[in-house]
């Protein structure tokens, strides 16, 4: 009799053990959440899209915006670029292709772009024609020769700067315009970086802390 009871007890123990282990492995995710605290749980709880009472467009009434499909699933509003390029359209002056223009005498050449200095890649990698379409100066050109319009100049940059582009699409590179609410209005690459000289220069801070009060 006692022997039977012992066997039964061992069998039950085995069943409980198996149940416990199978359960604990299926609850691993929950334990993981617990370890990351209540904030992580809160962030995971919301998956529905949220309806906002306001919109970021309200603050951007004076800027002309263009809708752009910057990724398969991501679209954003970008400020129109051609409105801020000083001497656009370029064929106001560039009536003939670059090759013909450079054939003229020295006196014909007006130094209209004297202030452009190219500090972007090496000469082996890039020259003016890498980005500018020498047949039509109103357009840019990709590495394979397809046309890129000035308003979509980010397509030009993303050919080399792929990580930065991914970060920009995601939201960790670049800046939002018009606040944090949807829809997304974003600065493009050239809003902050001069395409001819894209690095930021070092400068003095806009404020110097002359005294720090120890409280």
């Amino acid at each position: 009799m006692i022997k039977h009871q012992t066997i039964l007890l061992v069998a039950w123990a085995a069943v409980i053990m198996i149940a416990y282990y199978s359960c604990s492995s299926s609850h691993q995710d929950e334990q993981h959440e617990k370890a990351h605290g209540p904030l992580a749980n809160r962030l995971r709880a919301y998956t529905d899209s949220i309806e906002y009472e306001k919109s970021s467009i309200e603050a951007m009434q004076n800027v002309k915006l263009l809708l752009a499909q910057i990724h398969d699933t991501v679209s954003a509003l970008l400020p129109e670029r051609t409105a801020v390029i000083r001497s656009y359209p370029c064929n106001n002056c560039h009536t003939q292709p670059l090759a013909q223009l450079s054939q003229g005498t020295k006196a014909d050449k007006k130094k209209s772009h004297w202030d452009i200095e190219i500090i972007h890649g090496s000469e082996e990698v890039m020259n003016c024609q890498t980005c500018h379409n020498e047949k039509n100066m109103n357009e840019l050109v990709s590495l394979t020769g397809s046309v890129i319009v000035f308003n979509e100049s980010y397509k030009q940059c993303r050919q080399c700067h792929t990580t930065q582009y991914t970060d920009w699409v995601g939201g960790s590179h670049g800046k939002r315009l018009g606040g944090w609410m949807p829809p997304r209005i974003m600065n493009t690459c050239v809003s902050c970086h001069d395409p001819h000289k894209p690095a930021f220069a070092s400068r003095w801070p806009s404020r110097l802390n002359t005294s720090s009060l120890t409280e």
Partner: protein
Amino acid sequence: MEPVHPQQNQNTGCQSGNCSCGKKREDGFEQVMSKPTDRRDALKKLTLGLLTGVGFASTSCSVTAGDTKTEKARLNWEEFFKGNYQLMTVDEKESTVKRLERLYELNNGRKINVSAQGPMKDVLYGYAFNISKCQGYMDCVNACVQENNQDRNSQMQYIRIHEHQNGSMDFELADDNFYHEVPAAGHFYIGTQCFHCENPPCVEVCPVKATWKEKDGIVVVDYDWCIGCRYCMAACPYDGRRFNWATPEVPMEEVNNNQHYLGNRLRKKGVMEKCTFCIQRSRNGKNPACVDACPTGARIFGNLLDPNSEIRWVLANKKVFRLKEDLGTEPKFWYFMD
């Protein structure tokens, strides 16, 4: 090692004043007046009340005084007896900010706009700071000081930019007062401010409930309820809070007129203040002033509950960390690198 507090009694019950016993919440006048008092207190209050009463009465009933003076006295009287902001009804909040606007106009001859706008539904603010982007230009600090009407005399700043040597994260060794062109070679920059913890220790320690966490996650201070004990300053592990040792001075022409009761309205001597994620801006859909001012795009702000927001993308795709995570304060302020 657990610290031992022999004086602390676990069973203080209702005497602690911290529990909610299901009693009706008292507001303003009642909060102040319906407290049990002993003889000494009663005498003190009577004398004080008599003196202020006589003072107010003499100004308000004086035949020679003008209408504005009477109005000012009435407003000051109401201001003196107003309640904790958390306990005010919507109407009371509205009349309170109207009173502040009118008082400012009477005192300074200029109009300001004070808002009592509440939190938005389904919004929890979060912030991310890219330490590979920050170059120490300090534009954020300038924007913050101007936006939030901070004391110019004591160089009050909510944001600190710490210059670290590459290879070190020790804030003790960081330079907060760098005086040279930036970015300096071999250095990187980290900005700190109030992190708006989900579990804020500063709120725990406030003895008068003058600071609390709003529904949208912003930790705020009721400047008129704060008694200036600075417990919160001691409790904050991140040096996020500032104290007004003197009456804050802001030149009249530099005062930001777009104000919020819990945000950048003008403070007084002896109260705490801190970053509020520019509550007067963020609750209107704008970015905090520091985010808009940053020339490198190192600062990212948004709604943590919105799966399509940039801040959520950063949390999901970047390797983020927070300061002193082991304390369990759950800051809603993350750092990351490119």
